[in-house]
Symmetry: C2
Subunit: 364 residues, 2 copies
């Protein structure tokens, strides 16, 4: 994550991930989730904050999850079911359950299929927010799989040359295990920035860079700008056509097809009467043992990842990372030194703990 | 494709795709391919030029394929074999056969598996150049599948912040059928531009835009520049870190894992002694009927694609396209009016036809 999005030192309060897990679990139980489901949600959110993925951790997401449960949009007791199934694929109806709660179970189905026939694909319709899609890819990687996960929702991202939003930020992720190196973990919106970067930028008082968003008419805003109240939409990866936004547009579509269309559903761009639900998800597990020797695969991953991080950096750059390395290092640091939350977020937690009569966050 | 890469009107010579197919097939036979294999290659290359994908049609590729057969790098009589197989996946050893020749057969294996178990994944190691990866995704889409295809090769693309090339341009593609609309067809290098854009830009006398390549030290060149003889490498999708090159870096890695690592092989960045062959490929077919109703899927695709192309354009833009629409329109035009080749390419064909004693291109 760019420095501009991190919590400024002066505003940070460190809390332990154990305390965060405990409080989040209690909040989800308070919202009507079973203890088991609340545990799933706490696992996902605490791990996301441990990895430093602030956009999708508690600071941004918890408030909106509470709103969604309270308004009835999200079902705290989903009777999810398998609508279609073959030895290698399944289509799950989530019964408006939160993806954060159901995601691991969907990936478990994919993993079981992959163990049996080599690969497993699970799509999920009628769902709700999934959290950081990389979390579920990583869950598969921890079991000897290449994991992929993507989610389709919303209509805030413009197609190239367009002036009206048609896509969600449609994140996609892949994870793969290594031996001694940190696992590969790539997780990115297929828009220039995740929608959650807006609230993050507002909280930390940061501007947006040029080429990230468009004005009301669809013109890419090419200068650095304050976070606007009103704007035309997010731009696809690439930003402008000259800089490759048609590629971002293609990746946005890839996620619509894999997650929305292959779950027997439709994307967020459809008109209200045809659009049944907000979120559609895609989970894939490739059983590495079916393709090659797992230990050889891990050694090859180590070799590749070492080669990447030992690439001589360009002038002015400290080092070359690989996707997942910063998250791995962040997790080590945060397990030891706590998760830095913005003082404003800690204040919110204090209020919600009182309101719900759940335990308070312990400050380190 | 940006206007700057198209053959200037004054330099174009129109030829029929039938004539091109006939000549290309004869050239491949002359290079030692069976009639059946030569037919495959001619199918791929003629269709690529019909779709207007000049980077991967005859103008750029045929010369290098001839060099590769002549030097012995590519095997004109590959005894390809299946190394690993389960109901849903297969790993194929290509025996140094050209991907252009073997790609359809790999996708056929994936399609058969998808018909049986819902999805089929085929990876291919020990291969050679695949041509336009979108061609094979589209082949699957024509049979009621969502098709995906990607290829890993080379080391000319820099990781974010790096000064040495580590990746091939690692293209990835997806295709899906529609009803009345043109099929979705997305095919893009995960670097800012395809490597073949260099020869194309040189031929048509066009410059490169800022943010596409880096200088010898790894600094992104941010001004428009002539096609340089010497440079540091191509940049990942996004160009600079601020503009999202870490996302392009992640997509480059995605292709390395799916195509190289899951074919039991290693990417082009590996040192020579560990690096067995140049090209590794990934083919995926998702049987739409296993996930949902095929006719409903196509109607939903139509609705989505119509919605996209009827998006009001931003000021100064003629219209909003979707991935595959320009290629579809190009194909209609070129079937009717011929394929525009650069006069220099036609001259080359004349010489090679004489040299190999194969039929000459018929000029329209």
């Amino acid at each position: 994550m760019l420095e501009r999005f991190k919590v400024p030192k002066k505003d940070e309060v460190r809390i332990s991930h154990e305390s965060l897990h405990l409080v989040v679990k209690a909040i989800f139980e308070n919202l009507g989730n079973s203890s088991e489901d609340a545990e799933e949600a706490a696992d996902v959110l605490a791990m996301t904050d441990l990895r430093g993925v602030e956009t999708h951790g508690v600071s941004n997401m918890l408030r909106s999850y509470i709103d969604q449960y309270t308004s009835g949009q999200v079902n705290p007791d989903p009777r999810w079911s398998i609508e279609k199934e073959t030895p290698a694929i399944a289509v799950v109806n989530a019964d408006r359950g939160l993806g954060v709660v159901l995601g691991r179970r969907a990936m478990d189905i994919a993993i079981e299929k992959a163990k049996t026939v080599g690969v497993g694909i699970v799509t999920m319709n009628n769902g709700a927010h999934l959290g950081a899609v990389g979390h579920f890819s990583m869950y598969a990687a921890q079991q000897g799989m290449v994991g992929m996960c993507a989610t389709s929702a919303g209509r805030g991202v413009l197609p190239t040359f367009g002036s009206e939003g048609r896509f969600g930020t449609n994140p996609i992720s892949i994870a793969a295990p290594a031996g001694t190196e940190a696992p590969l973990l790539f997780d990115a919106a297929t828009s220039q920035i995740a929608g959650n970067k807006f609230s993050l930028a507002r909280r930390v008082g940061s501007d947006l860079l040029g080429g990230w968003i468009a004005d009301d008419l669809g013109n890419p805003i090419m200068d650095e700008t304050e976070v606007p109240e009103d704007y035309g939409g997010l731009l696809p990866i690439g930003g402008t056509r000259e800089n490759g936004s048609h590629k971002g547009y293609g990746f946005l579509m890839m996620v619509e097809v894999l997650a929305a269309m292959l779950s027997g559903s439709v994307p967020g761009m459809f008109d209200e009467e045809l659009f049944e639900s907000g979120y559609k998800h895609y989970f894939a597990a490739y059983n590495i043992e079916s393709f090659t020797d797992l230990e050889l695969f891990k050694r090859n991953m180590d070799e590749m990842l070492q080669k990447l991080r030992s690439t001589p950096p360009a002038p002015g750059q400290a080092r070359v990372l690989y996707p997942g390395l910063a998250e791995f290092e962040e997790e080590l640091d945060r397990r030891a030194n706590g998760i830095p939350l913005h003082v404003e977020v800690v204040e919110w937690f204090k209020n919600i703990s009182e309101e719900m009569s759940v335990p308070s966050l312990e400050i380190l």
